[in-house]
Symmetry: C2
Subunit: 353 residues, 2 copies
């Protein structure tokens, strides 16, 4: 995928820099880990530091000193999951900040304009994200509003967005096949630069998610990227790639790292087998059994944490609440996810996936 | 100063790695900042991870992957400032852990043996550290016990410590000249590899501290290092160097960093003038006035934070509680302290101090 900040080989995973920082890492750390693209959040950046400061900084890349690609979500998911007193009107979303209760109005046009100011390489159209479970009427209204907002997004984008920025639409429709297909058709007719699948990984059974991907992804144009928002565990990513998904983001590697849950390769298994998650294991590094384990987290891992530190040292750092614990664990988990994507790309290119 | 882990030019400052990590930094970060020696704490390491794990790791250098020099304090100060239900007997200190109430007994011999296990380049003899204010009787008892423990330390060191590790004595005596001079003489007679001045920077007026240094440092052998424990602000370090002190440690650069207080050079002033602190300034980076300040913390600073990030970005990170804030600030403040020592060494070598 070509962006204004470099080519990103697909399929790929985007580490999450919610508030303009991948937690505990700086721009050089992310670059050294080999990430080509990160995700940041419109909702959070709109609240703090706000549009005025980002504009004065010359955009998000300059503000956070990151020269790779950036995708920003539209705020739709956070309005649904974080904001207080939210109200969806025809015009847009009215909500109060989860931090200080300040009132915000986000319209499709405003979300687009703010992401233009951010300088995002990939702008997401504002959508209405439904929770799970969600009745069919509510899901239908969400699809209709999402389509309407997508149309307004494209209309404004035609005036203010240059070729340097891509704009993606987000398919909604909850777990209802007719609605999902209708949402996909509506958006495809509007001709976006890429298509995201939203409203999944919000509590529905994993099987349901894969069934939706089975019928939905084939309806999206093959020549543009397909993005499954907020997914997921390594085995979910593998299964979604198998179904034609190209792009992923998830808090799991970074959030789990901060809680001492670390991903390591299972050396006994080779390659990716449909439905199997046995290619990796997780370590709860705070476990007593690691107290005198002076081996790296993963002896075949080439990340700076595994090259320099032992399980016993990591366990110690977690047990005494040293802030370095979260950093060393984050470096390892982000490296694991990036290596997973590299393995998947290699397997695909070798015809072995 | 020659150590088993490299030569350290004097005077120098030791960043503090209380629990086997300079908070937010790893061994490579410290090395890249140019530190040649760090300080770690016997008391904290004895509690967690404990002797058994450090021994199994092959010492503290290997455990934390730091190949520079390490000085470990003896635990005397933490027993006085942190531990619960402490009791000083002739034999040693009995106290309860401030974490879980576990009972510990630390004798001069045990403190020495544990620091041998740690593999410290500089071992501190266990001392009795007095608070401020402290009446003369209590200060005298502390000096007598400290001398007795120093004698036992030397006696055991003669049997178990090799030339690879140095052992320092700690002068006590509170603010009483006779006691300070007596403590110094007692320790000098025991022929330590270096001498520390303890029990200062515990609340006494700054003027009192300098008066003590004025009469005390000349009583210490000129050919071995003089170490002022727990000091201090940049101007205090300058004034102590002027009085013949070679070694410093302090939590200020790292602790202040985590609270957004940053040290920057005052470019209007040149060099160090007796009693003047105008060679530097402090920034409270959380201040509103920095929100659109896209200059580095210090435009003449060569640290990674100043080379890559702006005041506005740092302020944002602090205001949204991103963990990267503490790290970028720590990198800058530790760099400032190390650069201060470099400037002092240069001024001394040029005869301009």
């Amino acid at each position: 995928m070509k962006t204004a900040h470099g080519v990103v080989p697909t399929p790929f995973f985007m580490p999450i820099a919610t508030k303009a920082s991948v937690k505990t890492l700086d721009g050089n750390d992310i670059k050294n880990l080999g990430a080509k693209i990160i995700l940041s959040n419109t909702y959070h950046l709109l609240l703090r530091p706000g549009e005025e400061i980002i504009r004065a900084a010359g955009g998000l890349h300059k503000f956070m000193n990151w020269n790779g690609a950036i995708l920003t979500d539209s705020g739709g998911f956070q309005i649904f999951s974080l904001a207080k007193q939210r109200k969806i009107t025809e015009d847009g979303a009215i909500f109060r900040s989860h931090i200080d209760g300040r009132k915000f109005i986000l319209t499709p046009e405003k979300a687009l304009r703010f992401q233009k100011v951010l300088g995002s390489d990939i702008i997401m159209a504002l959508d209405v994200c439904t929770p799970y479970p969600c009745d069919e009427d509510e899901a239908e209204r969400a699809v209709e509003t999402t389509t309407d907002w997508a149309r307004r997004t494209k209309k404004t984008a035609a005036k203010i967005i240059t070729d340097r920025q891509m704009v993606f639409g987000i398919v909604q429709g909850s777990v209802y096949k007719d609605l999902r297909l209708r949402s996909a058709k509506d958006l495809v007719d509007l001709d976006f630069d890429g298509y995201a699948i939203g409203g999944l990984a919000v509590g529905e059974p994993r099987k349901t998610m894969f069934e939706i991907l089975n019928y939905l992804v084939p309806e999206l144009p093959a020549k543009v990227p397909h993005y499954l928002m907020g997914v997921g565990q390594p085995e979910e990513i593998v299964e979604a790639v198998r179904r034609g998904v190209d792009m992923f983001d998830c808090v799991l590697p970074t959030r789990n790292a901060r809680h001492g849950l670390l991903y390591v390769w299972n050396k006994k298994t080779v390659g990716f087998h449909p439905g199997h998650s046995d290619f990796y294991e997780t370590l709860h590094i705070t476990n007593e059994k690691f107290k005198k384990d002076f081996s790296p987290l993963d002896k075949n891992c080439s990340c700076p944490t595994c090259k320099n530190y032992t399980r016993a040292y990591l366990r110690h750092l977690f047990s005494v609440n040293e802030p370095l614990s979260a950093r060393l664990a984050t470096i390892h988990n982000v490296h694991f996810y990036l290596e997973l994507m590299e393995k998947i790309r290699k397997a695909i290119s070798q015809g072995k996936f």
